[in-house]
Symmetry: C2
Subunit: 257 residues, 2 copies
């Protein structure tokens, strides 16, 4: 099977023109088939503020009422996505911006209301990758926005890490998928206060040992659970690294061995 | 060659939820290959207003400074486009939202500054239709936003009528293209004050005669010039009709005979 690299970026990297341009240059240098999945950083919050719409976050997730849905559809699906596509085109990359609604690529369920009503937030139900897979093989580079749809005419706000993970799992049947999560740190650290204490490689047994020892904690635990979940579903490798280190073969490599 | 219908809609139809839903239902009933090209109505102006950005129009065209470019990219490329795509998906239409930057589909030149600096406004230079054509044949229904790019990393605001016309001309080599411009009136009228005086069919000689007689005037003249221009470039027929009459075989039919 051919290699496919799926890169997920978000946060400040996407917000700031200069860091975004560097990232896209690095992305354009990656060989073989590739997909870029982007978040929106704080750009949606900023636009909502200018429009006098209150941004409410619970457990790091945005409460998406109808007005907020319009904002994220504009910012993620329009401004951020098309800005990235135009910039990649200028670098000779034949990018295609997509949301989950386009070609019915990612169908979600509106998150059920339990303790919290997240509003128009989507939990991924199904990824249809046949046409996507055929486009990739024709040299098209998909750029995925963190939006899906419910099949009933509504867009849904959907976590970019989830989009990347679910797409990687669905494409694992057709490609040797390498899934790369870019974030602010250089990888999974042995010592939170030492940026250079990156664990180069980790498997499930080591992960569980390090969680027990308290070395790995907080937000890194669900991130790694997701990574192992992808590996179990057939994704070849998951890499957690810094956006500034893209293509440098650094960061933490998660594998199934 | 197979038949391809390209429908262009804009104005109030796109702005108002109810009329948009009816239009999309009518569109979903059209048989054979099809493309939808949409404008943005006044939605960009409304968002600009809320953000305190002044909308300046000259000769009916928007002056697109950098802030305005962000607004139209959000509204046309994000909100309007994805809303249409999600609604079409709910009607069983496998829609794909696109700007000219996506798959490098429509490359434009930033309009040269003569008397007026239109800012980030695009004059279409080249339409790349190979991949688009292959997608259409796979059952995908493209939904085109009125945005193109310059190949240098910038999105450009581009008139939706132009997008429809240029796409029709480029696809005329691969399909029997029928280009339908939807607008507020029922067609080209013999008598401006009589909504039912629609001219059912018109060729170039008749058009020139009616312009001389003062029957056809104002904004309808460039509209029809564009229509004949498309016909000359191989488009099979151009129809000018009301959005509410879509698929009813009414309106004015422009042909080359």
């Amino acid at each position: 099977m051919s290699k496919l690299t799926i890169i997920k970026v978000g946060g400040k990297i996407v917000e700031e023109e200069q860091s975004l341009e560097q990232l896209l240059k690095d992305f354009s240098q990656i060989e073989g088939y590739k997909i870029l999945v982007h978040g929106g950083g704080r750009s949606a919050t900023k636009l909502a503020e200018r429009l006098g719409i209150e941004s409410r976050m619970v457990n790091g997730r945005r409460i998406t009422d109808l007005e907020t849905l319009k904002v994220v559809t504009m910012v993620y699906g329009g401004l951020v996505n098309k800005n990235i596509v135009a910039k990649l085109q200028s670098l000779g990359i034949n990018a295609l911006g997509l949301t989950g609604a386009d070609m019915n690529m990612i169908l979600s369920d509106k998150r059920p209301v339990k303790d919290i009503d997240y509003g128009y937030a989507g939990d991924v139900k199904k990824v249809n990758i046949n046409i996507l897979s055929s486009l990739i093989k024709q040299g098209i580079i998909p750029v995925l926005a963190p939006l899906t749809h419910d099949g009933k005419g509504n867009m849904l706000n959907t976590n970019a890490d989830t989009i990347a993970g679910e797409t990687a799992k669905a494409l694992a049947h057709a490609f040797d998928v390498s899934l790369v999560y870019c974030f602010e740190k250089k990888g999974v650290l042995m010592n939170e206060s030492d940026e250079n204490s990156v664990i180069p490689q980790i498997n499930k047994a080591e992960f569980e040992r390090l969680v027990k020892q308290g070395v790995i904690q907080g937000g890194m635990i669900p991130k790694l659970h997701n990574a192992f979940n992808s590996i179990d579903a057939g994704v070849k490798e998951v890499i957690i690294t810094s956006a500034t280190e893209l293509g440098k073969n650094t960061g933490t490599r998660i594998n199934g061995e």
